[in-house]
């Protein structure tokens, strides 16, 4: 199978500062490896290994494209001028155009981000391919793509046709920091830059009318002598009716 793994395609929300008026300061945050990216990469290798296939890396925006190259991916493509967008379908359209640019592709593997939950599915929709997301892993058995997920108290194995998009939701941090040898090897591996113009996409976002902080009551926090704070908390919980 020819597998494309999409990585570093969004900014990390923990890099943003929400000001008191609700506006967002991204503090020049760059696109980073998402928490699901290492698990997506592992799935891409598992799918390729089960089918004598290869894994191609694809990233967008201003993140460090060598992330995947230092983790075993032999070749990667970067749409470096892709902006960070609110519209998940617009981001997906950029990714889809890049996937088409890579020619024959059997599987696209992407981290199933909480923050941008629409990107993996819109990517599948844009390509017109079947998809599963929220997966814990994926692999190839007897030449067929299969994926694992947890649904309704059961661990399921699902068989899907190709081409397909699979969205991996990591269960833990499985990233393994590359060593010096891998970092050096990554520098020699080919990284091809693509532009939005080359791909023929001109993404834009809906008009923003601004941000505001949600109404939420801050925690009532007790501090002081342990015996006193314990009594205060117990009293508060009783008045809530949970004790």
């Amino acid at each position: 199978m020819r597998v494309v793994v999409v990585y570093k395609w969004a900014r990390n929300p923990t890099d943003a500062l929400v000001r008191s008026d609700g506006s967002i300061d991204w503090r020049n945050a760059r696109m980073t490896a998402g928490e699901d990216d290492p698990a997506a990469l592992a799935a891409a290798f598992a799918i390729a290994a089960g089918s004598d296939g290869e894994v191609l890396g694809l990233t967008i925006g201003d993140g460090d494209a060598s992330w995947a190259l230092a983790r075993g991916v032999e070749r990667a493509w970067s749409v470096a001028d892709a902006p960070s967008l609110v519209d998940n379908a617009a981001t997906a359209a950029i990714l889809a155009a890049a996937v088409r640019h890579l020619g024959e592709v059997d599987v696209v593997v992407i981290g199933d981000s909480r923050q941008d939950a629409g990107v993996p599915v819109a990517l599948a929709g844009e390509l017109g391919w079947p998809a599963l997301v929220g997966l814990t892993s994926a692999t190839t058995v007897d030449g067929r793509l299969q994926a694992a997920r947890k649904v309704g108290g059961a661990a399921q194995t699902v068989l899907l046709p190709t081409p397909a998009v699979v969205g991996i939701a990591a269960e833990a941090d499985v990233d393994r920091a590359p060593g010096m040898k891998e970092l050096l090897a990554a520098r020699k591996r080919p990284l091809t830059r693509l532009s939005l113009a080359e791909l023929g996409v001109a993404p834009d976002d809906p008009e923003s009318l601004g941000c505001a902080k949600p109404d939420s009551t801050p925690a009532r926090v007790f501090a002081g002598e342990p015996a006193e704070t314990a009594a205060q908390l117990v009293a508060a919980l009783r008045s809530e009716g949970v004790l």
């Binding site: 929400v18 519209d87 079947p130 194995t157 704070t229």
Partner: protein, 309 residues
């Protein structure tokens, strides 16, 4: 602005999404791919129409392409789903086919000056952004789940659609810690507890409260102090107790995803800046080694009938 809306439903938890869809003036069509009972429950909430496809043992995602085709014919102005993986795949298929925008984590929809306003949670819900959209828009719902109100029951129309060849080839029940899922109270601890021997301290508090004992992922996964079936979070148990008391837990988003349904969250942490105080209802800033024994004492001093569930 066309505000006819399709709400895509594949599993429970659609009440909040239904509420924001119903707030639009257009016709609301619920598209249910799931068991008949689910279709009937959605119908009872009062959409204008329910189109129902029974997937049998096949994953609902298999109907993505067929639904996309149906949506291209019907041309709804708004398409909505929960974040449920299957419903999201259907949403993506429809959005791709219709060339719709896709805005994640919408918490409210409104029409103003003939344009659709989408309010969406950004930066993990720390702020709400308002977007003004033209053309078809797909959104995932990102607000709290609410019980669906009942409305004028809509007719359920069975719809036969072609499915892609997806198949479940194996299914095994997951181990669930007995009692945790439907516990009324849960006391949970994290890496603030320094040694395995100290677990008994927290256990004592749980016993006094008549609560089940749970933990954060590293306690079960890395340290093995509790069974893996007892950790809470995205990858572990998602629970909805009346009280969730977190002791020495930092409050990572992946952990808090497991207690979104809890009614009251309380936390004990010695760091006043700990993330958990951002989402908790109550907190004590203090060393758990001092606070937990006092809490246990205070609970034991309550009249005993108060702790009957």
């Amino acid at each position: 602005m066309n505000t006819d809306c399709w709400l895509l439903v594949t599993a429970d938890g659609w009440g909040g999404a239904f509420r924001i869809a119903r707030a639009l003036p257009g016709r609301l069509t619920a598209v249910v791919i799931g068991p008949r009972l689910l279709a009937e429950q959605v119908a009872a909430a009062g959409p204008d129409e329910v189109r129902w496809t029974d997937p049998g043992p096949v994953p609902a995602e298999a109907w993505g392409a067929a639904l996309a085709g149906a949506a291209a014919d019907a041309q709804p102005g708004v398409v909505l789903s929960t974040t449920d993986p299957a419903a999201r795949v259907l949403l993506g298929a429809v959005a791709g086919r219709m060339h719709a925008r896709l805005v994640p984590a919408a918490v409210a929809l409104a029409v103003e000056d003939d344009r659709l306003l989408v309010r969406r949670a950004a930066v993990g819900g720390e702020t709400i952004e308002t977007l003004r959209c033209t053309g078809p828009v797909a959104v995932t719902y990102g607000g709290d789940d609410v019980a669906a109100a009942s409305g004028a029951a809509a007719p359920v129309t069975p719809v036969e659609l072609a499915a892609a060849p997806l198949a479940v080839i194996a299914s095994e029940p997951l181990a669930v810690a007995s009692g945790l899922e439907d516990a009324d109270r849960v006391v949970s601890f994290g890496r603030g507890v320094r040694a395995r021997d100290d677990v008994s301290l927290v256990q004592g508090l749980a016993a006094a409260l008549g609560a089940e004992l749970a933990c954060s992922m590293p306690i079960a996964d890395d340290l093995g102090w509790l069974d893996k079936s007892r950790y809470v979070g995205r990858s572990g148990n998602q629970i909805s107790p009346a009280l969730y008391l977190a002791v020495g837990i930092g409050g990572a988003p992946q952990h808090m995803e497991g207690v979104r349904g809890a009614r009251v969250v309380a936390a004990v942490n010695n760091d006043p800046e700990a993330r958990i105080f951002r989402t908790a209802d109550y907190g004590i800033v203090g060393d758990l080694y001092d606070v937990v024994p006092e809490l246990t004492k205070a609970v034991r001093n309550l009249p005993s009938k108060e702790l009957e569930q």
